[in-house]
Amino acid sequence: MSIIGYPLGILIGIITGYVFMLFFQTMIANSRVKFSTLMKVSAQLLAMPTFWFGGPWVTTQLLQSVDLAESLPGYLISLTLTFLLVVSWPLGRFVISVGNQIGEAQRRKK
């Protein structure tokens, strides 16, 4: 098994994780999101698998000597774990923030 898959997966996982959080933050920051913006963000979200499994980086000069089929298992596993790590922490903080707001408002009502 080729070990190039692991760093590659981590790198692509970090990039796409931050891109996903950027989409999410953009949506959260805008109190009134237009339908066209939603469609644009959805389209960008749906473009992520093509980047994961066949983005322009696959055909670069650097990777021509690498057996991609051999490095695929390492790539997949490190991509999944890195993406989850990058995305879970900000999403968790968002959920805590929303929970705090609802809890405070409910306590104020009582």
């Binding site: 979200l45 749906l46 994961w52 997949l76 999944t80 805590i96 009502k109």
Partner: protein, 142 residues
């Protein structure tokens, strides 16, 4: 060819992530006032209340804030993302693992949300998403 273990881990990761987004979507949904159905009043009362509830739900979705729409788009977008991943990659769907991971992600974030609501966890001030939309309008009046 992908080994079954790697396939399981990737599918579980996807399920976990979709579970998280599902929990967020449910939390940004506006809540209806709870009501009880009195079966002693007969079938007509049951039908009337069911109709009223359906109308309320339709109205709620129609007038819902942008956060509900964002949540729903994110959820459906991720389902589509999963389908695309299954098409593009050599992964095979493993439904039991996917559903288990989805529940695990959902329950973990539900637990975090409940603790935050009770004031047992507070959000760090440096949160990148520290200014979520106002939530006072979706609080259950009951």
């Amino acid at each position: 060819m992908i080994s079954p273990l790697i396939n399981t881990i990737v599918i579980a990761g996807f399920g976990f992530f979709i579970g998280i987004i599902l929990q967020i979507t449910i939390n940004v949904m506006p809540r209806k006032e709870p009501y009880s159905i009195n079966f002693d009043k007969g079938l007509q009362d049951f039908i009337d209340r069911a109709k009223k509830s359906a109308e309320e739900s339709r109205e709620m979705v129609r007038t819902a804030g942008s956060d509900l729409r964002i949540g729903m788009f994110a959820f459906y977008g991720l389902i589509a993302l999963l389908i695309l991943v299954l098409i593009y990659s050599p992964l095979a769907m493993n439904w039991p693992v996917f559903l288990l991971a989805l529940f695990a992600g959902f329950l973990l974030f539900e637990w975090i949300f409940k603790r935050a609501k009770a004031g047992k966890i507070s959000s760090p001030s440096t949160s990148p998403t520290s200014s979520p939309p106002k939530t006072s309008d979706r609080i259950n009046k009951g």
